[in-house]
Symmetry: C2
Amino acid sequence: MSKLVIVGTVAFDAIETPFGKTDKILGGAATYIGLSASNFGVDGAIVSVVGGDFPKDYISMLENKGMDIEGLEVIEDGKTFFWSGKYHNDMNSRDTLATELNVLADFNPVVPDSYKNAEVVMLGNLHPLVQLGVINQMHNPKLIVLDTMNFWMDCALEELKQVIAKVDVITINDEEARQLSGEYSLVVAAEKIMAMGPKYIVIKKGEHGALLFHDDDIFYAPALPLAEVCDPTGAGDTFAGGFSGYLAKTRDFSYENMKTALIYGAALASFCVEKFGTERMLNLSKKEVHQRLQQFKSLTQFDIELT
Amino acid sequence: MSKLVIVGTVAFDAIETPFGKTDKILGGAATYIGLSASNFGVDGAIVSVVGGDFPKDYISMLENKGMDIEGLEVIEDGKTFFWSGKYHNDMNSRDTLATELNVLADFNPVVPDSYKNAEVVMLGNLHPLVQLGVINQMHNPKLIVLDTMNFWMDCALEELKQVIAKVDVITINDEEARQLSGEYSLVVAAEKIMAMGPKYIVIKKGEHGALLFHDDDIFYAPALPLAEVCDPTGAGDTFAGGFSGYLAKTRDFSYENMKTALIYGAALASFCVEKFGTERMLNLSKKEVHQRLQQFKSLTQFDIELT
């Protein structure tokens, strides 16, 4: 098993969906990534920042899930990053109601010395310069996975391109892939993004699954069709955590193994959306994960005899 | 191998897409279904109607593909059904520019006596009463597959429900499944549609693939990600033709075999969209089909060890 460095937000979220509404609850990309990766028992470290208002219980919970929190800076007289959003009826789009950067505004990430030799780095969605700051502290990582979003394409494209040039895998959604590449076809978009640096492109399509591109190969991980999606918040981060967590555990960074990692990511994300916030990820048994992986096998595996 | 009865339009289409524009070319649901099913060497019969303006060469072509055309009525002083449409830039939506029913307005389908004992019936998109007329002429078919569209839900819902109650498999797209069931979740929609009669529901999601529902089981056939889609016309019919053709060939109507049939349908549909109209389907080798099925395997198959 290799060490896994996770950078991203640790935050408060307030979420409204057609199924209900929450007050300020635990959220943030690094939180979801860490909870998801913890299913593999990896030795992970969270690099992030919170304010003095962040409950000690939440920090203990992350530690109990096996996350090192030396790199989780606590600014006692600051306030934790807060995001609030409301999902539309189709759950595929949302309005951001509030974004309060707070302590995140001046975040200067520090990777603990004992994790600078980690083999896997998972860069959760944050300002590209913060992501770059983490990369620069690492000693020869074997695999860097980048998650980002359209917001940075709009307001920090050049910095984002610098990060993209340095990573092995990028995960973005379909619209972002189109925006970044200027191409409508995802196949052509993936080719263009590969030319920017990453050897592997993961394009997330929400309820339509995710595609993994590498050279001329394509692999497709479906999303599990669900009778009810309660709250999509954190699904992409949970997917990234499952993907990078599985790779950190197995230390096999081949395309073949990434296919399996993609399925793990999709399976874990399918749990995340079943309840509000992190609730489902906090209460997830190994047996449930195995059963869901079996569902993914039933969903996708077939016999074909070529006659 | 069992006999296959195909009912649907045989038509002229005029198509405009961002890649070009055609004059009146060969089209129609039964045409695409027949061309697709012909890849399995099935003993198929086309039940349809054309006018005196329909080229004899097209009829010979269908015969050469192994289709019986005794049930293809030619009304010498009538005109063939004509459809014209224009696709938008994303290729997922289109405007109908013209629909001239012509000889289709009074179509009274006649199944040839020698095909009334066919085991498989593929009801291509047509007025539900025409579809019902075909069902009523059949002697104890083993499998009836229905394709339909939102148009009939809007203007002939009661008749459509009568047909749905009599079929084994229904294939519709995601929006149509939502309209028919009044449910947004495709899982819940499929449950409600199963309660209307069919034991198998195929929900087509275009570039996002297709789902097969049966009891509590779900199978997912992806669409092949393509660098370029030239013309989506006929893709759904080609899918239905591959699905029903494979089942007619193998005479195994189990859920397990339907999974393979779905993959064949998706593979054949992926060729259809590569060129305008039927062009690609008219020039398709067994070797090309096998190569594409291999691509579907690479796209979807993975190894997972549950630890």
